[in-house]
Structure formats: C-alpha cells, structure tokens
C-alpha cells in the first residue's frame, strides 16, 4: 500500500505545485493588467481614502476640494463649489469614469503621490496614515472667468486668454458646460446616470471646446499668412490691386470677399478690412512650404504643451498645399485648416511677445497641505514663430484692425488693443458660421492675449467675428484690466 500512498502523495503535492505556479503566473503575468483594470476599484478606493488636494483660483476662490464624509465607505467627497464655471478647466473626479482636466493631468500632486516629499508629508504618513494631497493654485482669476462666461451668454463657443509673456492661462471657458459635482458623487449609479446623460446631450457639454476641438479659424488665420509672407521674402508693402474676386491658378472657382466687397492695396490695408482676395493671392503665391512652415512655427500640428488634455491644430498636407487653390483657401483660414481656440490665442500671444510663443500653463504654483510653496511655474518659450521685427509689423497692423478696421467693437478707450476678426464658413454649403476674434492688449506691453470663438446660430449676416466675437473679447479684456490693473 505504501507505493500507492506515495503516488497519491506525489499527485497531491503536484497539485499544490500547480497552484503554486498558477499564483506566480497570476502575479507575474496578469497582475498589472488586473490591478489597473478600470473595473478594479481598489486603487481608486485607496485614492479616495486620501485627502485630495484642493484647487484654487488666482484670487483664492476654492474651485475643487475634498470634503470629509464620515460614515461613508469613501472617506472624502470631491466638491466643486463653482460648479459649471470652471468645469472644463478643473475637470472632474469620478470613481467610475476616471478623471478629466486638471484632476487628470495633475493627479500625482493632488493625490499626494508627487515626487517631492516634505517634512509635512512624513508627519502625515505616520500620524494620519496617508499623505494629504498638494494644492494647486491656478493663474485664472475667478472674476475674469465669470466675466468671460457671462460675455458668452447663452451661445456655444469658447474663450481662452493667457499672459503672452508667461504663458499663464487667464481664462478658459467652454460652453455648453456641465456641473462636475454629480460625476464625483459617492453613489456609483448616480455617477452613471449623470455621465450617461452628459454624453448623450446633443451639444457635447463634456467637450472642452477651448483646447480639444478644432474649428476652421477663418480670417484670424490671416495673421499667420501675413507672418508667413513676411518671413519668406514678402514685405509690408507687398500689394495687390483692389478686386472683388480672385481666381487661383489651375482652378476656375473664384474666391470673393465677405459681403461681396472690393479690397486690395498693401498688407496693412488688407488686414484691416480682412480682404480675402488679397490674402488668397498672397497665400497662393508664397514659396512652397512657406505657409506650412510658419504655421508650424506657431504650433500648428503639435499638441500645445499645456498641463491640460489638449489636441493639436491641423493643417492641410504638404501635397494639398502645393495646389494653389488649396493654398489660397488655407491662407484665409478655410479648407482643411482647423485650430483650437487655444492655438489661436497662442498665435496672438506669439505676436504680442515679440514673435515668441509661450508655453501655456494652467497652474501657477503648487503648495503642500500646509500652504508652503513647493513649486512655481516658470515661463518657458514654446516656439519662436517669427522675428521680433516681423512681430512688430504685424502688431501694428492688428492695432489698426481695432482702431479703424473690422475689430472696432473691441476698442477700449485709452488702450491700444491689437486684434483680428474672423468669420469661418462651416457646414455643407457654408450656411453656418463661426465667429472668431483674437487679440492682445495693451499693444506695447501686452498683458493678455485672447481668442474667442462663437458658434453661429443661423444668422450669418450678424454672426461675424466683428459683430459677435469682438464685443465678447472686449468684455473679457476689460475684466482682466480691472483685476490686473493695466
């Protein structure tokens, strides 16, 4: 019988060996995927157990904070007291649906996993069992944000403004917006209901139109075209005769001016009235690759290095731009040119900042739970788009747009504002418009660069950059002026 007993024993031990191997395989091969599976709530629960850091505006308004919830399985509740106002900037924090916005990009600091361990952190670890997250202070002033949101009213669109020298974002509004609070509630089914209804909503309230959607920039792109021309052998006195239409070579489709007008002359005149025929011709006759090169020098084709989820703005392909017709259309911001409002604001900032496009940043400084500053954002240059001289020339042209051109409704008494209007045709037959406006002020020592994009609601005559977008920008500029004092 011993023989049989030994065999059974061996079999049993073999079975244990298989269990052993299975456990090891589970750990070595499968564990990482399982541990990070979004349906595995353990890591999220662990995060929820920490006091997540707060997010404050530049004027110390609490935008997001973790409220302790005694008696609940999740120890803290993420509360967004400003609700919709900062929704796209700050984002949301949901156990089921993950994180968005700053909650996502700065998750390490907010959840206390940031690399810097202070004495405070060590104390927390021993006494409280876990660290408190770090606190973020944004560069957005809530008053400017409110003004921007009010200026947009009930329209759909986006507003982005930044400091052209430091790159700090001064406002970021996208409408329609949403209330992030239901997404961070403790009830899992409540979160699901809220999320599903937001996803199903017709106008995509969850989408951050300022940084994650691209739109044809229309005539605001003429700034880039002008820069390209000036950087590639053209001068401010490059002139074309006044005309009503321009037909690019190799095509028989004429391009006309807005409202059927006639315009021409030198570059400044053309820019002031936003002359399509001028810029179309200018663009068609640029050396090969010039427009693309300058556009890329402003950041097109690349995701802006902002600490928020963002997408790159798009250009037509090199081959497409070889066709004069396409080049002409691109030169006036149509065809396949598609920009985020953030990118267009960066264009304005680049011109404002002597040709250097700054790196955009939402967070101004990071503090630990006690308030000591751990990190301060330092300004960085992202792209050197054009030379300082060219920037200066364009700046003057943009000033005249406001003083005497299509951007008059953005003029602020006592301040030299520089800007450019744009009205993009969208839709199958171009029946819808997007009203654009980019600007910076004061022209000589710029403190703010802005881009406004408003979706038209079916009244193309009146929904132009000059009539719709520029007044909105003016309100934001004035609000910032009041807060920042310039």
């Amino acid at each position: 019988m011993n023989v049989q007993i030994r065999k059974v024993a061996l079999t049993v031990l073999l079975l244990f060996g298989v269990l052993f191997l299975n456990l090891n395989w589970l750990q070595l091969v499968q564990a990482e995927k399982l541990a990070n599976d979004p349906r595995n709530r353990r890591l999220l629960f662990a995060e929820y157990a920490r006091e997540r850091g707060a997010i404050l505006s530049a004027d110390q308004v609490t935008l997001a904070k973790s409220q302790p919830t005694p008696g609940s399985a999740l120890k803290f509740l993420r509360v967004y007291e400003t609700g919709e106002l900062f929704a796209h900037a700050v984002g949301y924090y949901s156990v089921r649906f993950g994180r968005e916005g700053l909650e996502r990009t700065h998750n390490d600091e907010l959840s206390g996993k940031g690399g810097v361990i202070t004495v405070q952190d060590l104390g927390d670890r021993f006494l409280k069992g876990s660290e408190r997250g770090d606190l973020l202070v944004l560069s957005i002033d809530s008053r400017v944000q409110q003004a921007a949101r009010d200026a947009l009213g009930s329209r759909k669109g986006a507003i982005v403004a930044l400091d052209p020298v430091t790159g700090q974002i001064l406002t970021m509004v996208s409408r329609p917006s949403f209330d992030p609070n239901p997404l961070s509630q403790h009830s899992s089914s409540g979160q699901e209901t809220a999320y599903r209804s937001l996803v199903a909503a017709p106008d995509a309230p969850l989408a951050n139109r300022a940084a994650r959607r691209t739109y044809p920039p229309g005539s605001t792109f003429k700034v880039v075209t002008a820069a390209a021309a000036l950087s590639h052998g053209r001068g401010v006195d490059t002139a074309y005769p006044a005309s009503r239409q321009y037909t690019p070579p190799q095509t028989d489709k004429p391009m006309s001016n807005f409202g059927g007008g006639t315009c021409g002359g030198a570059m400044a005149d053309a820019l002031r009235v936003s002359c399509n025929t001028y810029f179309a011709q200018l663009g068609a006759e640029l050396p090969e690759g010039a427009l693309e090169e300058t556009a890329r020098a402003f950041g097109f084709g690349e995701r802006p290095p902002i600490d928020l989820p963002a997408v790159a703005s798009k250009l037509p392909t090199e081959d497409e731009l070889e066709s004069p017709a396409f080049a002409a259309q691109s030169a006036i911001g149509q065809f396949d040119v598609a920009a985020t409002p953030l990118q267009m604001a960066l264009v304005a900032a680049g011109i404002a900042n002597n040709g250097k496009v700054p790196e955009p940043r939402m967070v101004r400084e990071v503090q630990d739970a006690r308030g000591a500053v751990i990190e301060q954002t330092r300004p960085e240059v992202w792209k050197e788009a054009v030379s300082a001289e060219i920037a200066q020339s364009i700046k003057e042209m943009m000033v005249s747009v406001i003083e005497a051109g299509t951007g008059r409704s953005a003029a602020i008494p006592g301040v030299r504002v520089a800007g450019k209007t744009g009205t993009a045709q969208v839709g199958v037959t171009g029946e819808d418009t997007l009203a654009w406006f980019i600007a910076f002020a004061p022209a000589d020592a710029p403190r703010i660069a802005i881009a406004v994009m408003v979706e038209g609601a079916g009244d193309p005559r009146n929904e132009t950059g000059g009539r719709l977008a520029a007044p909105i920008a003016k309100k934001v500029l004035e609000a910032h002026r009041q807060v920042a004092g310039w």
Partner: protein, 445 residues
C-alpha cells in the same frame, strides 16, 4: 526524542499564538483603529487554547508528530486575523469571536479524541456505525424542523442559536467507515475475478456496501446542491479505494464516472453550467455572476508580491470573503509571499500526513491517515484552485482558515486522529521491530 518533539511543538505554538495576537493588532492599525483590549484578550485565549492542546498532547500522545498541531494552529490564527479584520458592525458582526469560540470547541474535541481513542485501530470496529452516522449527518439538513436552507443549498441545521454544517463531521465519519471497510476487504476487492481487456475487475458484490454508501452520499449532496463536497467526496473515495487495492480499474472507472457525472451535472444543474462559464471568462459579466471571481482576481493582483498590508487592502469587496474566498484576502493583504507561505503550510501538513501513513503498521491506520490527509489536501486544492481561476469555483471551505465552526471542529478532530495515529506509530517504531501489532486479516504490505 519525545521531549524534543514536544518542545518543537511548544515553540511553534507560541509563534502561532503570537501571529494571532500580532496579526490582529496589525490589522487594527492598518484600518486606523486604536489598539484595544481585544489584542490581549484574543492573544490570551489563543495562548490558553493552544497551551491546553499542547499539554493534552504531552500527556496522552507525547510521541506524535510535532508539526500537525502548530500548522493547524498557525492557519487558524491567520484565518482568525483575516476574519476579525473583515468583520464590521454593519457587515458581519461577531465573526471573530464566534470563530474563536469554535476554536476552543475544536481544541477540546481534539483532546477528547486523543483521550478516548487510545488505540486508533479500535475505531475500525465501529466502521458500520460510522457509515450510518455519516449518512445520518449528511441527511440531517433534509429534516423539516431543524434543517435550514441557506443560499440555495440545504446544508445546515439549526439547534437553538447554533447553526451547524453536519456534512463536515459526516465526511470524517465516512472516511473512518471507508478505512475500516477497505482495510478489511482489501484482498477481496483487489483480486480480479474477471478481465476486461488488460484490466482485472473484481467481484461486484464486495463493492456493495461501499458503493451504496457512496451513492447515497452523492445523491444527498447533489440534492442539497453541494456539488463541491460531492466532487471532493468522490475523489477521496476513489483515492482510498485505489490505495487499498492498487487496482487501476478503480481509477479508470472513477475517472470515467466523474467525467460523466460532471457533464451531466453541467447540463442538469443550471448553476453548475454557470460556474463553468464563469470560470472560463469571469469578465464576460463582471458585475453579474462573475463578480466574485473577478473581485478575487483583482484582490490577488492588487496585493502584488508583498501585499497591501493587513487592514490596508479592500478584500471586503469580495462576496463571501470570510468563507470561500478567504485565500484571496490573504493574497491581497499579505501578498504573493503570504499566499505561498499559506499554501506551503498546507503542503507541509499533507506531506507529514502521507509520510505518517507510510509508516503506519496496519492497514486500517494507513488507510485512515492517508484518507484524512487526502481529504484535507484535496479540499484545500479545490478551493484555492477555484479562487484563483485554475478550476471552476466550488462552495467548500478552506480548512482552518475559513470562517465556519463545523469546518473548524471537524478539522481539529481530524488533527486529533492524525496525532493519535502518529503517536501510536512512533511508539511502535521506537519499541523496535520485534513488537508486532495485531493486524487484521489481510496482512500488511
């Protein structure tokens, strides 16, 4: 030598009791609770219980293997730590205290077994009694008044405030019956009277009582929807039969019957089919029937190599974590290292058991020890395998660790029987080869 054994046992038991107290304390700290008087209280109870067991063994089974009790004690202590960590005022209050009470009962029962059974072979006399007792215990839950249906299976009885799973003790009784019957009838069952091809087949009538007992137990278990126990029981039966007779025909027949049975079960019983589907892909419906296994896998994965630490993981997210899935809780909080250590403890226990079986001098002891060891080892393999998605899940408990008084009690009785056999065998061996034990008809091999 005997003294050395007992001293080893004593030191190991001290470690086991410390694990109980220390683990409990760590789990409290991990959950951010203050250390209360519970640490000392539980530590004291564990210490005293193990002390009592140890002293009992010193007196009445001094030559027994020093590892059986400490391993059981350690596993029980770990299980207790996990259970106390998992209990909550809203979820399952009082589990730890209940488990501890059952530990005390189990230890007392173990010592009682040692006390009343001085010669393990004497149990062979009562084999038919054990058969009847075993079947009765299995059938008890079917009775109207005291029978209880919980979670769709009818396995429990309630007498007053106590709920009990008689099948656990019934299992031990039936192993005792098989050991007695098979050791007596070994030769008859092994002799091949006919041949089917290359395989010899013994007389059918000798199978009779055994098959009947087995068939009834299986019927009872499938009726009560306890298919995990059916499988376990079947495997133990086939293993014991084979060990007794060395006839491959039993293995083949057993394997075939199992295959047919499993197939039939998966068709007839909806939830068996479901269990197999869940095993194949628990993520197909991770919030539905697959939830338990999915959470178990998440648990083990999140634990990593070293675990999250006691009290710092979320094993409470797994349903039935204090019973079937306690191993996953170990995996999460004590990591791969902890899980492997636990597995190694069971394997060590099994190898000591099988080693003892080979050293036993008479057939009954051999079969009994081998059968009991197989029972414990296979039960462990089945539940750990199910929890780690190696095999479909079966609703059986992890010996010593899962919450459950009946399981704890029957497993300590098992330990008692092993200790008695071990003590007896060791003294026989020490006394020299000239000492012959009375061997029942059939001879020893």
């Amino acid at each position: 030598m005997i003294a050395a054994r007992r001293n080893t046992e004593a030191s190991l038991l001290v470690i086991a009791a410390s694990v109980a107290a220390g683990g409990y304390a760590l789990a409290l700290l991990g959950r951010g609770r203050p250390l209360g008087s519970g640490v000392l209280a539980y530590g004291a109870v564990f210490g005293l219980a193990y002390l009592f067991a140890h002293l009992g063994i010193r007196r009445i089974a001094p030559a027994s293997d020093p590892l059986f009790l400490p391993i059981a004690a350690l596993l029980t202590a770990l299980g207790f730590v996990m259970i106390s960590r998992l209990e909550s005022p809203t979820g399952s209050p009082g589990l730890a205290a209940a488990q501890m009470r059952w530990l005390v009962v189990g230890v007392v029962a173990m010592v009682a077994v040692l006390h009343f059974v001085r010669d393990i072979r004497s149990l062979s006399r009562y084999r038919y009694t054990f058969a009847v007792a075993g079947l009765v215990l299995l059938l008890l839950p079917m009775l109207p008044v005291i029978g209880q249906e919980i979670n769709g299976s009818r396995l429990w009885i309630r007498i007053g405030p106590l709920t009990f799973q008689p099948a656990e003790l019934g299992k031990i009784a039936l192993v005792l019956f098989f050991a007695g019957y098979l050791s007596e009838r070994r030769e008859l069952l092994a002799v091949a009277t006919r041949r089917v091809g290359p395989i010899g087949v013994p007389e059918m009538r000798h199978f009779g009582p055994v098959l009947l007992a087995w068939a009834i137990s299986l019927l009872v278990m499938t009726n009560q929807k306890d298919l995990g126990s059916s499988l376990l029981f079947f495997a133990i039966f086939v293993a014991m039969l084979w060990m007794a007779t060395a006839r491959p025909v039993y293995l083949i027949a057993g394997g075939t019957m199992f295959a047919i049975g499993a197939f039939a079960a998966s068709r007839v019983f909806g939830h068996v089919g479901r269990r197999i589907d869940i095993w194949r892909d628990p993520f197909e419906d991770p919030d539905g029937p697959g939830f338990q296994l999915v959470q178990s896998l998440f648990s083990l994965a999140t634990g990593g190599a070293w675990g999250t630490g006691l009290g710092l993981g979320r094993p409470d997210l797994i349903p039935a974590v204090t019973t079937d899935f306690i191993f996953a809780a170990i995996g999460e909080e004590l990591g791969l290292v902890g899980a492997l250590a636990v597995l190694t403890s069971y394997a060590l226990f099994a190898s000591r058991g099988f080693g003892l079986a080979t050293r036993c001098r008479d057939d009954f002891s051999k079969l009994l020890v081998a059968g009991l060891t197989t029972a414990l080892a296979l039960q462990t393999v089945l539940i750990v395998g199910g929890v780690t998605k190696l095999i479909p899940l079966t609703g059986i408990t992890l010996p010593f660790m899962s919450y459950g008084g009946s399981s704890l009690l029957s497993n300590f009785v098992l330990v008692g029987l092993l200790l008695r056999a071990s003590d007896q065998t060791a003294r026989t061996i020490d006394a020299g080869p000239a000492t012959e034990l009375n061997v029942p008809a059939g001879g020893g091999r």
